[in-house]
């Protein structure tokens, strides 16, 4: 069983559309994250949730809205997609802060 799974793996869409990326972890972890990896491979944290509550919300446009229906799931909804949103988005989870992260395999988003 995959520990941290994200769907879809690839997402190609037009500018202005709204899309969602789903993430689930079966590790029983309390903390989940969304990271964005750009074309230069830089990793930037977007959001962090602990037990379904938002802990960190970095300087991310409010077009990005995370939702955590339970502590095993952290979905990312993006409104009005822009060209600059094209990137690979990684979900990750950890037992607690300062513990090692377990990453999903990523969602490659291409906005045309």
């Amino acid at each position: 069983d995959t520990a941290v799974s994200q769907t879809p793996k690839y997402l190609v869409t037009q500018m202005g559309n709204d899309k969602s990326i789903k993430c689930e972890q079966n590790l029983g972890h309390d903390t989940m994250y969304w990271y964005k990896q750009d074309s230069k491979k830089f990793l930037k944290i977007m959001f962090s949730y602990n037990n379904k509550e938002l802990i960190i919300n970095e300087t991310v446009p409010n077009r990005f809205s995370p939702k955590s229906p339970d502590k095993a799931h952290l979905n990312l909804h993006i409104n009005s997609l822009e060209l600059g949103d094209s990137a690979v988005y990684f979900c990750a989870s950890a037992r607690a802060t300062n513990e090692k992260l377990f990453f999903g395999s990523g969602t490659q988003l291409s906005v045309l």
Partner: protein
Amino acid sequence: AQSVAQPEDQVNVAEGNPLTVKCTYSVSGNPYLFWYVQYPNRGLQFLLKYITGDNLVKGSYGFEAEFNKSQTSFHLKKPSALVSDSALYFCAGGGNQFYFGTGTSLTVIP
């Protein structure tokens, strides 16, 4: 602000030679430091972490890292590189959020 830095974008090493991937940190208090590896089209995988204790930390796949407080460094090392070690390596600092270095692409030449 807390941060980690990886001064080298690219490291090339011959197979069988020792490898070092550099990381320096700027963290207040006791640092939580990590190394991760990313293979093409994959998510990051944990290699090792330092919290407190021994300055030499052993991790997965024969990797180790040396914590040096006076030099604020946490370099990743392996005594004998394999071609399969070729990947992107990230140093990271922990806390309420993980902050990653910019990554170092390691190429092991057969």
